[in-house]
Symmetry: C2
DNA sequence: TACATGATTCCATAATTAAGGAATCGGCCA
DNA sequence: TGGCCGATTCCTTAATTATGGAATCATGTA
């Protein structure tokens, strides 16, 4: 009769239910959800019917209930109101403030990477790559990451056109490039010292979108000596920035990642292709 | 002191806030939201901070608050758990039950449309197009809709390869085809009588995805005579089915559409390209 | 058919909370 | 600096609601 357990309010409960279904990834019965959340049944039924009225949850026949179409509307509205570039820039500025180094945001354009944004740090040394600069992918730490999600054949194609860098230190051998690229992608960080510029090191991390593709790379530019001394610490900061960007863009589930206590590398690959079309297109193939 | 106004519970309020921001499309201050919803400030502040903790809302500097990244996670999870094809089929079955006619779901494949699903009605007449059938786009009602979102040049290209139909009644003149296609797309429905099959009529409506592209068409097949008698009524049912599919897939905002009291045609075009990448890519173009 | 077994709804009640409104904060101008 | 204005937080209290648990409803089985 008298509630002894502390009460959870309806709004909180509603989002617990959504989070629960996101975690499961498949429809579940109210009873199942109540069990998972450790919540009383009567409450869950109440919350569910409210959410159902709003299209936030839907009944899926015998399978139970699942996330509803309204959530897609919310997701689209979020995406429309957020410019990834703003998020990149903000985080780049923050990383630059924290480390005092130059920070670049790099995008891919064919065989080249493009410096899309650069925040100058307190370091006074000048670096040759400025916003708008185009550099062969094979010369830089960022470049290798930007093609990490591609099929090996596509990379092979790019590597076959590799050109030597001015310093002569950048790899040009396709096999070596492929190995370096895979390693960097697996680790979630790419470090390069004095390959495209003398005495300059880059520590870059990939920014991976919801479909698992490398949308951009964030790269910290530092004097070679600093990288040799404190490279690991900097790498942690750069990858943390990349992760924060992904979370702020809704490309990574901050909550789930935290629960699972993911380590420092992003080896736990995200499943490719979340788009609504994916499964459908597969089926379309069968019919056509 | 004593609340006279009926209380709105927290869960309801939370989604009111989300709906409000979806409607605005831009960040808003708590005060503004409270005004719009006609809700007390203290309540709104409370709800907002709860939603902020969950990443469902975010503070956007001076601009106020806006939809948060968690919503994107929810939207992706919804999309991953829903197969558009299932939704198509279910609605096709329901439309067939309601009208007694055959209902087809059609997709585009190059210059052809493909019958991806067909629910047979109570009508006993047989029709030649069955699942898997490939028919030139220019011969059918569905076909014209499937290319309605393309650029005129792309359509011109397709029309330049138009072939005559067995009945000899399908249009082959590019200019006429373009006109017919535009009209159908604007109206949101395409009706065709005895062009590809004698004595058979098709009434088709486009199923338009969140980016404004025609993902599929739903088409009702009926004897010519029935179409001449009750075509309008059937057209209403077909477009309603198409709209329901879009809503169930989160491609159309059911709530907003209802508010605005949209008419029967879908002339109110959705803005093209909601994807997070859109604005970004534009900017990328500038840098590269 | 009756009987389990599990899902769903109903109900009484204590605990919480949405509303109202006052107090406080924060920025901006004079 | 002082004072003004809007934004935000705090506090009180009646109204609501999350809970526990019982009742009811499906559904499949003997």
């Amino acid at each position: 009769m008298a509630p002894r357990r502390p009460r959870t309010n309806g709004a909180e409960r509603a989002f617990q239910i959504l989070d629960c279904l996101v975690g499961l990834g498949v429809p579940a019965s109210p009873v199942r959800i109540a069990e998972i959340l450790g919540a009383p049944l009567s409450t869950i039924y109440g919350s569910i019917s409210l959410l159902e009225r709003r299209g936030v949850l839907v009944r899926r026949g015998g399978a139970g209930i699942f996330l509803g179409p309204r959530l897609h509307i919310y997701g689209l509205a979020f995406a429309r109101g957020v410019d990834p570039f703003d998020v990149y820039r903000e985080e780049a500025a923050s990383l630059s403030r924290a480390t005092g180094r130059h920070v670049q945001i790099c995008l891919r354009d064919g065989d080249h990477m493009v410096v899309a944004d650069m925040t100058t740090g307190r370091d006074q040394f000048s670096i040759s790559s400025r916003p708008g600069y185009r550099i062969p992918l094979t010369w830089t730490a960022s470049g290798r990451l930007l093609i990490g999600h591609l099929e090996p054949e596509e990379r092979r194609d790019i590597f076959s056109r590799a050109v030597p860098s001015p310093t002569g230190r950048a790899l040009t051998d396709p096999a070596k490039l492929e190995r370096a690229c895979r390693l960097a992608w697996r680790r979630g960080v790419s470090i390069q010292i004095a390959e495209s510029d003398f005495a300059v090191a880059c520590i870059a991390a990939p920014i991976v979108d919801a479909a698992g593709a490398c949308a951009a790379a964030i790269s910290l530019v530092t004097p070679e000596s600093a990288a040799r001394r404190g490279g690991d610490r900097l790498a942690v900061l750069v990858t943390a920035s990349a992760r924060r960007i992904e979370e702020n863009l809704g490309w990574r589930d901050g909550r789930k990642a935290a629960e699972k206590g993911e380590g420092n590398d992003n080896a736990g690959r995200r499943p490719a292709g979340h788009r609504a079309e994916t499964r459908f297109e597969r089926r379309r193939g069968k019919c056509g």
